[in-house]
Symmetry: C2
Subunit: 584 residues, 2 copies
Amino acid sequence: MKASQFFISTLKEAPADAEIASHKLMMRAGMIKRLGAGLYNYMPMGLRVIRKVEGIIRGEMNRAGAVELLMPVVQPAELWQETGRFEKMGPELLRVKDRHGRDFIIQPTSEEVITDIARQELRSYKQLPKNFYHIQTKFRDERRPRFGVMRGREFTMKDAYSFDRDVESAGRSYENMYQAYCRIFERLGLEYRAVAADTGAIGGDRSHEFQVIAETGEDAIIYSPEGTYAANIELAEALPLLSERGAASQALTKTPTPGKSTCADVAELLKLPLTQTVKSLVLAADETNEAGEIVKSQVWLLLVRGDHDLNEVKAGKLEGLKGGFRFATAAEIDQHFGCKPGYLGPIGLKREGEGSVKVVADRTVALMADFVCGANEVNAHYTGVNWGRDLPEPDVVADIRNVVAGDPSPDGKGVLAIQRGIEVGHVFYLGTKYSAAMNATYLDENGKPQLMEMGCYGIGVTRILGAAIEQNHDERGIIWPDAIAPFTVVVCPIGMDRSEEVKTAAHKLYQDLMDLGVDVLLDDRGERPGAMFADWELIGVPHRVVISDRGLKEGQVEYQGRRDAAATKLALADVVPHLQQRLK
Amino acid sequence: MKASQFFISTLKEAPADAEIASHKLMMRAGMIKRLGAGLYNYMPMGLRVIRKVEGIIRGEMNRAGAVELLMPVVQPAELWQETGRFEKMGPELLRVKDRHGRDFIIQPTSEEVITDIARQELRSYKQLPKNFYHIQTKFRDERRPRFGVMRGREFTMKDAYSFDRDVESAGRSYENMYQAYCRIFERLGLEYRAVAADTGAIGGDRSHEFQVIAETGEDAIIYSPEGTYAANIELAEALPLLSERGAASQALTKTPTPGKSTCADVAELLKLPLTQTVKSLVLAADETNEAGEIVKSQVWLLLVRGDHDLNEVKAGKLEGLKGGFRFATAAEIDQHFGCKPGYLGPIGLKREGEGSVKVVADRTVALMADFVCGANEVNAHYTGVNWGRDLPEPDVVADIRNVVAGDPSPDGKGVLAIQRGIEVGHVFYLGTKYSAAMNATYLDENGKPQLMEMGCYGIGVTRILGAAIEQNHDERGIIWPDAIAPFTVVVCPIGMDRSEEVKTAAHKLYQDLMDLGVDVLLDDRGERPGAMFADWELIGVPHRVVISDRGLKEGQVEYQGRRDAAATKLALADVVPHLQQRLK
């Protein structure tokens, strides 16, 4: 491609609403152009990156035996009513009525439509397993779209759906996609981590997020640098930090702690380590009747060590809280603790019968001795608290906290570390959630209908652009991995209008690289060197060759990799072999 | 591709709602699957065709210097309000409100968004000309979607938009796209015709439709078999069929024609040729005040020969009817003609002043002598009518009729013929319609802002599938042109499970063709020969090779082109060269 036949539009300054590096750089490099809140035009430079990302995804999906089709953007509400998602999904689901007043949605994903296809097309066990995918425009009406393509409203996504005859086969389909995703992210040239993720309400134990590592990532990734363990913070298991409970050595003592309503403040006042304190969190779970009216509420006290944080996803897995929970109201707390928050604790609570409080201790808290907690009296805490002696054992002991860096790794290999990531892919074992709701069955060997086991597998195509940039940029601009750069090589002639030698050499190099199948751009715009270099460093083309009159006089051109500190002088004849070496 | 890794799903019967061949065959061949009215899933077999069509379009657009980008499906209403299309367009424009109640539309085309991009990005004459295109999902909420992909609601379209500094340059951009479209339809392997089309309200004289020739086409294409003239019926010029007006030879005579209210009936009754009669059509044009109230209506009488039809598009170009017209009401006709329709004519009308009728004669009618027309009296016609003698000359003589086969060609070369076509592409010179509405200007050499001259260029990607099938099918199924067939060659082994020789030969041929870059499918499903052949004839793969045990014993395989009457026996070693020859 020659620059004069393309469209290049760079900006010195990013618009004010661009908060993060990828958003700023994509706007400045002319990759995207804002059309409205969360809506972007993909300009020619950005579209080239999208097409390369799509090409890699498509190649690996096909290699994994998945079959591409294309489902509409506008989908009838009926199917979404079959699964209940038309009603259940919030306003992020864009709903629209056609000219006849019939309900439609703009697809955020396509579970319903693909299950509708599967229940009609996959009739026999002989047709299974099958994996269908498409790469299509999606819409999610985010309440607060921001960060450019990272949280846009309209975006491109690759979504795949597998259909299997049983759980075992579904496991193989899942593993197949997991491996395909690893190959995709390898080929994209991104540093990534596949982390075990929570499966939420659907259940099952198979869900992995594919996270692109970046300091600016929204997600915390927990991993074992010495082992293979990796999970997101919602799922990562927190082992107890004590091997057994120590013996009680202090007397239970009520201590005045005026105005000290946090563990940190209390520890400081009492000159005790924060790890000696226990934090009290009060939840409530409501029971409702068929009319949806609350008939009973159970209050729960959850205890984590003072330096730890409650993990609400883990709390939501406790028997009794699975159906949903909320934080208790001030009135409920007053009724059950006779005190206001900040001084709450597990001592002296009604633990049985009507109006009782269920006490859950984190694994570590359950093994603590001589600990500090609120006295259920304003401006007072207990010290020297011991389970069994000062209060009954907890009703439940469970992992209910977020892990922290330095926690032992669940795989027994060293301690956990935390890094930040951007979720760009997700593989998910769905089980029969959708096939049951939509009666998607196949006939087994005995001619008996059986529900299909499903999995879904998504990659945010446009989001990958943002994630790649968050991971790969510097103060001058983007640094694309070779595989997804808008152009792999840029040839920059200096003074092409003045020098026939420069013009000839530049065109020859351009043509030689084209002939070798290298995605090369010849910058024939006639820009000044400074502006030209600034453009390509901003746009992030990974390999640059500069051809100048002065260099040619010595038979030389300059090569510079986007991450290289300085340019390398090369003989004109060596530049193609050098590039071939670098592009390997 | 091996069939076992793909998805093939054919039907014996087409669904009842499929009316035309392409719709029936696409459903039966498993190319598309209905999701809702006018909404189709593109199944794997159909998507392959789409991708090939897109590839050809993209290649030729890039070759023509157009630059690809991607504009969103969901677009803010604000831009559509700037041009007035948000209000003006009917319910075929799908409107939607987001969670904040803001108006959006699902794009049917993208003139507004591209003009918004151009007015921001194309600031100087140095950046012009520029042509941007995208291939994107479109939605048009058809009142009555039907005919499968031919009149669907959601469809894929390639739309391009050119921006030029002046009319002359815009003409070159138009010609460039016209040539690119010719190359595209050549490469698609379709018989097509570029026909001059009406430019409607926008004006300008440059608009061409690209019509795929098919007997079932909705559009009438007028062309000169001996010359190069081609236009659609709305535009095709109708020359006068008489060179000069003959002398009056009959007396004006009122003749009773009881119950004969059509020219055909009158001609039959009077034993005169239909070409001697004149048909009267009464129109009215309203003048309105600023409040939109009708302040005055002018009645028009349009005269065409009895065997001709009025062309309303041509009528709409007459001075006085440009602003819009309607057929006159019964009351208006009674007031001006004193008669009811069926017996109307141009004699005895008030031709001047308040309450007058304007008389327009078609070019041929203006040259007729001794003609027959209504007498403005029920059950009576005049014969022997002559201009000048029996009534004043017409106020206007113009081309106001549809051409018919046999009319002289406007280019002077022979006579016109009519064929049916399916519109799949349209190139259109827009002038400043959108740039003026949205103030899209560039700075000229003198730093003065000038409106950009625009053109738009569309191709219905998904519609091409339907048009290609309407043109290329037989009673057994689809006959794809090589360039867009889902697979170019299918290798059909018979009894691969029983014969190691067949298996080896089939896999080797498959691999050899793959290595040559031929898009080949190996049918390893193990279907019976009859079912297998029926599938591939239905799906329309253009080249088939059958490998059987019996044939191999004689060292032979069978080749059959989809249009061939019978199979050709070939030595196994000759099949690859033979295919290469056929695929040239």
